[in-house]
Subunit: 225 residues, 2 copies
């Protein structure tokens, strides 16, 4: 059975990604990073999602990006709140974590090569997004090129590893509709950057606002609210 | 003062790299990875080198690549011994660590962006080398392209971060001569993949053999032997 490594944060996008990879016939190897993020709660969501989708193996990988800092997700700096949609996608916000996708994809690549997987799924999106440079189509294309040169399988030109980003040109509403059609249970996902007590979403950070937009577009109620 | 992040393993190449960056007027920010390698001794060498070169800050970064495996440097698999030079550079050996340079450069990139450094030095070499795909000039070029797209500074097209690999086309002998001319003390470096008791080099692994070749070419005695 063909294997897929899936970057699984526990959010809405990566849960949908799990469903898509499953539908495409892959055996699922999700990887979740405990990197010092404020919203550690997403790791519990990732565990639930991995379990629901009967992942072959779920790797929780520890990497302390707090040691590097540079982001309001990994330091004491406040997360932006109550921003308008235009503001959210208009510039690179403080929640940008330097080189995060490069580090995460690098580790996913190591795992994929080791287990003989030829597909890495990443849930980046450049439509309803937060302006992160490492979520753009040109970034994914550049990482594919790097992958072809970085690895043993790439260098030997056999069974190259593909970087797959099937959500990249979808709106949040389209992603939710797709996920619902594949049976994703969004009640176990977590999107909020800065959850309030007992882990409930704040409703005001960029991630909550984009999620709200998605459910409104899809015309259904968010099970978390 | 301009800042440089330097991938410092504690070996011969990266020590020379420290000397080169210092000579070029950089303030030094070396980063050393404790990744589960058999030859942890190199970390002590890296600490000594960072201290000798008066690094502004030396980061020791923990990342558990044993959890992923796939290499004789991170598992119980034996390291190849007593291979001929032709064999060493002729194929990708079991000491190849999947995606290692991609992961290490990714973390170095995060640190560089956070501290406002515009230069990352990496001591890769494609002449007297072990055939690792992520040490080739085309790989470095691809990582530079990725860097330009991955980061905030890259996306905003201001003060791009440069990936510098000044040793890439030098022989081991040339690297040693260069280092000696800059005052590198090779007695505090460590190259061996599989040190014997009390940390002494085995003299038989690929890394020891390439080091031996270098000192022979430079026409001087290795202070470690």
């Amino acid at each position: 059975m063909k294997k897929a490594v899936i970057l699984l944060s526990g959010g809405l996008d990566s849960s949908t990604l799990m469903a898509i990879a499953k539908q495409e016939g892959y055996e699922l190897y999700p990887i979740t990073f405990r990197y010092g993020q404020k919203h550690k709660k997403e790791i519990n969501s990732a565990k639930k999602i991995a379990s629901v989708f009967k992942a072959k193996k779920h790797m929780i990988f520890d990497i302390d990006l707090k040691k590097i800092g540079g982001s309001s997700l990994t330091t004491e700096a406040p997360v932006p709140k109550q921003r308008k949609l235009k503001e959210i996608s208009g510039s690179i916000p403080s929640t940008y974590v330097p080189a995060r996708n490069t580090i995460f994809l690098g580790i996913a690549l190591a795992w994929a090569e080791t287990i003989g997987s030829r597909a890495i799924f990443i849930g980046v999106n450049s439509i309803d997004w937060s302006g992160y440079p490492d979520c753009r189509p040109e970034y994914i294309k550049a990482f594919q090129h790097l992958t072809d040169l970085a690895t043993k399988t790439g260098a030997e030109k056999i069974n190259k590893i593909k970087i797959l980003a099937p959500l990249i040109n979808m709106t949040k509403g389209e992603i939710i509709k797709k996920g619902l059609s594949l049976g994703v249970d969004y009640s176990i996902t977590h999107s909020c950057y800065d959850p309030i007590k007992d882990g409930k979403p704040c409703g005001m950070c960029d991630s909550c606002i984009l999620r709200k937009k998605g459910f409104a577009e899809a015309g259904i109620k968010d099970p978390l609210t």
